[in-house]
Amino acid sequence: MLSIKNLHVLIEDKAILKGLNLEIAAGEVHAVMGPNGSGKSTLSHVLAGREGYEITDGEVLFNGEDLLSLEPEQRARLGIFLGMQYPVELPGVNNMTFMRESLNAVRRGRGEAELDAVAFMKRVREKAKLVELDERLLKRSVNAGFSGGEKKRNEILQMAMLEPLLAILDETDSGLDIDALRVISGGVNALRSPERSIILITHYQRLLDYIQPDFVHVLVDGRIVRSGDKQLALELEKKGYGWIEEEAAA
């Protein structure tokens, strides 16, 4: 489904990704872990099409299409979803209106009919229940004045509405207490399916107790230096990143 080959990325002339390779097949859950500044968020932003990154080498194919040549909205319509680490607030933009515009834009892109107001309401209510999001937040401006946990629930709600093929969750667990973590993980697990792949970007092993990954990768200094299964995450939890960084440097 997703094939990243030799990806090199600069931010303001500073090399962040330095030849990253990653292959993800349909239905797989991959965790990408690594110390601060290793390039985890850059990877997620580049996949979603955020501006400000210069790609100097490499390619990214999504179901055979050259992802890097597409606008962010085109990627979303192909089925890519980025759950943001810091969801922005959109004052004055109604959450419900926003989600409906978004869903219908994606549906149009997929050649599906738009949902009418009734069908949309039914669906958004159902999915809000899944992530235990207070329905009142649907009537407010997007993320405006939401708590950290509410913002993350709102992200997972959008994911559940859009039913992406590839969901990239960028530190969705940061700043969450155990209860919120459980709810959000439940939301993610409910979406697992043979057609859907997930990239979990995280600092901590804790999230992986709730969402079991098929693969764990360690990103250090812009490259994946080690890949393994869930055991690798437990090892990192115990020993930290130091030993891998040393190995990588050697």
């Binding site: 606008e71 909205e73 979303a76 969801p87 004052p91 004055g92």
Partner: protein
Amino acid sequence: MSTTVEAQRAWFEQAIDQAQGDLPGQDLDWLQQTRAHARRAIETLPVPNRKSEEWRYTAIEGLLKNSFQTPAGEADAARVLEAGDWLEPDYPAYRVIIVNGRCIVDASQTAGLPEGATVGSLRAALATDPELLGTWFGQAAAHTDHLFTALNTALINDGIFLHLKPGVVLDRPVEVVYLSLGQEQAPLTQPRNLVVLEKGASATLVERFIGPGNALYFHNGVTELALREGAILKHCRVQDESRNAYHLSSLYLTQDRNSLYQGTTLAFGGAWARTDYQAVFKEEGARCELGGLYTVGDRQLIDFHLDVRHSVPDCSSREQFKGILYGKGRGVFDGRILVEKQAQHSDAHLSNDNLLLTENGEIDTKPQLEIYADDVKCSHGTTVGQIDPQQMFYLRSRGIDADAARRMLCLGFAGEVIEAIEVPELREYASQRLVATLNQSIQAAE
């Protein structure tokens, strides 16, 4: 220099001289005196120029290059009704139609007004109700040093007169449509309005300023508003003048004890459009909320001047104005709040936020708080910014294309002002009008 000033003054004098014949109420002493006083003011008041603070960013040279003429008589009602779809949006209201400054009774609709309510032509009221008019007329706008108000006053002719007796509550909004129709000689249209809400009365007033096509005209309207004790006026103004029009609205508001005024002005049209608001609290416990939204594009100047005077204790005011500028549009905002020494416990908050969609837009914004009392809650703030790329990315990453994302963010930015509008049809209209403007700006950029 002085020849220029003389030529400019002559412009005002000519405008008055050519319109003398048709004025109503020539037998009313107080009215004739008011007119004569204004006529003298024209001869002595300084002509606005860029050196005076109130006109620093708003040149009048372009306006004075044109020669305007006060149209004689009433416009033909049939022609008015044919003029197009200007009555959209339609909703239940008492409606008064003013064309080129004169009320068109045949096109207006005020049947079913409750007892104690007068809504109609000022010219008609001068004949039927001169004493009541005389009591209120020129009070709020009397001591003005505003040359354009003097021009209007010297030629007081027609406009709306809205009077509610104590306790009268209107069940529907009053909508006044000012339609300016171009003609061979560009018209000078000068409606003069008087709105008086007696004790405990309440109304919603909507004013729409419309000029079909690219007509050239100068709308120089003056409105006096008096709210007596406990009166409530919700006032929505939609400025949709033609793109060649000059528009100046001067509003003079006085508020008695515990009265509430909520005014929202939407300014979309005109080549040169200015709104001057003067609000004076005369008694304690009154509240004044002024809101505004303006969109300004190529060959447009939109200007707001506020002068809010807290002269007595325990009054509150809110001023919230938002602007969206694109192309080479120019905006001016000058908001002044004066809190006098005796006006303790005043509560005043003023904000002006601007969104620049292009590099060439320009906004000159100046919020001013002048406080002489020592126990007050006051704040002011102004921002000028662009659309936040992070917000754009967020929306686009959810499948929404860039143009739609920009529209959503602009609507969101303007949302607070639009939400304050009382009539749902007008809220919807305001959103649609904003979207249409944004679409134009996007097309222009391509």
